[in-house]
């Protein structure tokens, strides 16, 4: 009995170690001296750990600028997505209005269409609006989050109608009900949705690559991809760049994983 317990746990530990090894290696190499990782057999730990790569990144490469861009874009994307999707998700779940169900079915069907299909026309549309090469252009796709509406609606369905009716009889306006009664109940799903959008916009690559031409506006993934094409040989420096890019979201996930994983299940087991 106990032997089996240890075999399975050991196997899981081994698989988990293999899975996180690339991330640990990234962290370790980022503290190595230039050229140190290019040896055989590859060293696992830095001989003389230093922060020099990070100093170079923030000094001569100005990665601080890209970090600030990423924080700005992801924060704004999150706020805007919440402002747009929460009222809509609530309305689709709880408010009776003509055309509601037909519209919602259309939205669910539209989930099949990948966003990349419309990227070229969207680029032209934003060019006409003068939003190419601006933060606003990078934010636009996050306003149109069907998935977020779906997530919020799913959660709102469990709110008892009697609770809303009682508030209406007391004379509360619909906006008041949303702010004072519904929003507090929605707190867990709001955290989940905010986390999804923040991580999604932080990690997004293709759209910012297309819409942001000016290097000053680059988000971290776009900047890192450009840097990695120019500095293929600078292994240790690139690892430090990868750490700066991915560590913030990794920490955010670890801190709020409960919300992330539960939301993931609500979202995937749809229909």
């Amino acid at each position: 009995m106990s032997a089996r317990r240890w075999t399975v746990t050991l196997l899981a530990a081994l698989v988990a170690l293999l899975t996180v090894a690339p991330l640990l290696w990234m962290l370790s190499v980022s503290f190595m001296a230039p050229g140190e990782a290019a040896q055989f057999p590859p060293p696992l730990l830095p001989a003389d750990p230093s922060l020099d790569n990070y100093r170079t990144l923030f000094g001569s490469f100005g990665i601080g600028r890209f970090l600030a861009n990423s924080i700005l874009v992801s924060t704004l994307a999150t706020i805007l997505a919440l402002l747009f999707t929460i009222p809509a998700g609530y309305a689709f779940a709880k408010l009776r209005f003509t055309g509601r169900d037909a519209t919602f079915r259309l939205l669910v069907a539209a989930l099949v269409v990948p966003g990349q299909i419309g990227m070229l026309p969207l680029f032209l549309e934003l060019k006409a609006m003068g939003l190419v090469n601006s933060y606003a252009g990078a934010l636009v796709p996050w306003l149109a989050g069907i998935f977020g509406i779906f997530l919020v609606r799913q959660y709102c369905l469990s709110i008892p109608d009697e609770m809303l009716e009682a508030a209406r009889i007391d004379g509360a306006s619909e906006g008041h009900i949303l702010r004072r009664i519904v929003l507090p109940i929605l707190t867990p799903i709001i955290v989940t949705l905010a986390l999804f959008v923040f991580l999604g916009s932080w990690n997004d690559f293709m759209w910012p690559l297309i819409i942001l031409a000016d290097q000053q506006l680059y988000t971290l993934p776009v900047a890192l991809a450009a840097m990695s094409r120019e500095h293929v040989q600078d292994n240790e420096l690139m690892m430090a760049g990868a750490v700066v890019t991915t560590l913030p979201v990794l920490i955010l996930f670890l801190a709020l994983q409960r919300f992330y994983l539960s939301g993931l299940l609500t979202g995937s087991v749809k229909g």
């Binding site: 190499v29 309305a91 209005f97 026309p121 995937s268």
Partner: protein, 298 residues
């Protein structure tokens, strides 16, 4: 009174949903539909400068694509990713889920988070990391292989190894997501059923085939549909790791679309590629659903 309340409720419903609906129409549905129209024009860098240069060309973009060897290369590469990658990633995810679901396992939450972690990392950053892990001379992957006597593989430099190399990376990056979905399904498989089969002397593989797999078939379908869609949308992986090379062995449809549209500014032709990509995803999804219906999975 009640009628007035109903009117105000309907009004509030529209007021709350219209900003999101407007954004979805303007920035998602309209561009997706416009893609089809754009694909029938010769929109290029001249039209970008002055719309007077725009002409309607019918199916010319599609006709040109069919004659373009790089387009077919991108199509076959993507289909390879779908055909080879989907079973690989689904199997990997199911294995991880069964391991984490095992009743003998201790400290389950720890392993679950560790296995899921790659999924939330930044794709570009980890693609950069894996480019070095897969380095022919100094990469850890070849070092581990050398321990079991396998000679170094030129992962990202050989046209035969580049696709498996990217698949290994994509598998590592995404299996955690599928694993969580599988885990939820596995937890609904009645323990008693599995236990009864075990007492009857059914081995591990028999129980997998006759107890576990039938119970999670709908989930396996969902996961494979999601994985296929993901395989059709590979872009950053080849962009960062191989730039489509070597000898165009990792040019995917989306990579091809990006280059047509934003490198050569052939937006009409790029839109045609986008529309064909959409048709492919739709077709494969419908086929999978049809097969599942016939097999009785849903």
């Amino acid at each position: 009174m009640s009628a007035a309340r109903r009117v105000s409720e309907a009004r509030a419903g529209w007021a709350m949903s219209s900003p999101a609906l407007a954004a979805i129409t303007l920035f998602f549905l309209l561009p997706a539909i416009a893609s089809l129209f754009l694909s029938f024009t010769d929109f290029d860098i001249y039209a970008l400068a002055n719309l007077d240069n725009l002409r309607f060309v019918g199916f010319q973009n599609y006709a040109r694509l069919v004659e373009n060897p790089l387009f077919w290369k991108a199509m076959t590469n993507t289909l390879l990713f779908v055909v080879v990658g989907t079973p690989f990633i689904v199997a990997l995810s199911l294995f991880a889920a069964m391991l984490v679901n095992s009743r003998w396992l201790k400290w389950r939450p720890v392993w679950r988070v560790a296995l899921f972690a790659p999924y939330v990392t930044t794709l570009v950053a980890t693609a950069v990391v894996w480019r070095y892990l897969l380095h022919t001379r100094y990469g850890l992957v070849n070092y581990l292989l050398s321990l079991v006597g396998i000679p170094p593989i030129d992962w990202l430099g050989s046209p035969n190894a580049s696709l498996p190399a990217i698949l290994i990376f994509v598998g590592w990056k995404t299996f955690g997501y599928n694993m969580i979905i599988f885990l939820a399904a596995l937890q609904t498989v009645p323990r008693e059923l599995d236990e009864a089969a075990r007492i009857d002397g059914a081995g591990w593989s028999t129980r997998l085939r006759h107890v576990t797999l039938p119970a999670i078939a709908p989930t396996a379908l969902l996961v494979s549909v999601l994985t296929v869609a993901g395989m059709f949308q590979l872009f950053a992986e080849p962009y960062v790791m191989t730039q489509g090379g070597p000898s165009q062995s990792t040019v995917t449809i989306l990579y091809f679309m990006y280059e047509e549209g934003f490198k050569w500014w052939n937006l009409g032709s790029g839109a045609a590629v986008a529309f064909l990509l959409f048709l492919c995803i739709l077709a494969v999804t419908l086929v999978q659903l049809r097969l599942a219906k016939r097999g009785g999975a849903i």
